[in-house]
Symmetry: C2
Subunit: 132 residues, 2 copies
Amino acid sequence: MKIAEVSEKFGISSDTLRYYERIGLIWPVNRTASGIRDYSDLDLRRVDFIKCMRSAGLPVEVLIDYVALVQQGDETIQARKEILKEQRALLAARMQEMQKTLDILDHKIEVYENAVLKKEKEIMQEQALEIA
Amino acid sequence: MKIAEVSEKFGISSDTLRYYERIGLIWPVNRTASGIRDYSDLDLRRVDFIKCMRSAGLPVEVLIDYVALVQQGDETIQARKEILKEQRALLAARMQEMQKTLDILDHKIEVYENAVLKKEKEIMQEQALEIA
DNA sequence: CCTTGACTTGGAGTTAACTCCAGGTGATAC
DNA sequence: GTATCACCTGGAGTTAACTCCAAGTCAAGG
């Protein structure tokens, strides 16, 4: 699969895909004889993983470290697990913050809703007075 | 309340508080005769609101627009509600993305956990062989 | 065969959101 | 009263994460 197809498939620009590879966020992708990237199924799964992690806000730097550990083999399993656990905790904390904000937004929207309804009612009564 | 105290209370730097005021993210704060900011209770509630919205990732630019509408009075209630509803939807979508990532992280952590346990077991068996 | 278009690289530019700095003023501690 | 400290402003600098650009190479269509 060529870079433009991968870009299309995941909604990530070709520039970003090359950037990710350059900084070590995804493994080096196989090339055709003329040097053009040819993404394998494994490459696609790696892109998908990084896309998922990035979409949740995990920092690029942390993910680079993680990928480097994966490349170093089985000896780093413990270290990888620790990274994921830490990022999992941070993510859960962010989500809790966001839930708090969501609740406040819902409350404010409801208050505004009531304010709008009240105003409409007043206007209707004014119109009723005009007709009377 | 002086800026350093507000900074302490909310965990927002004085620089950021001044920056927020400068760009219109929070209302102008009352000053003492010599020009020093003196945050009122209302100011504190505004800071708290902005802190909450920012912590959930609502863009500064959107919040500036929202605050400007609040300052324009009751005529803008409908427009304000629309902004909040849109941001609420975006926030919920981000949270869903993050939940997906959280699930994947939990799965991976579990896989790593099992890998670590398996390795420990192998080592124990080796030790048992040595002793035997 | 030649043009068009997708690909390549290294490096520069952009964006959002702060964060820091220099230079200056007023208030407080000793 | 003087030294230190928090505060002020306008503007410059930083950081993360892309995003764009110039200049060059290769492959396929007409």
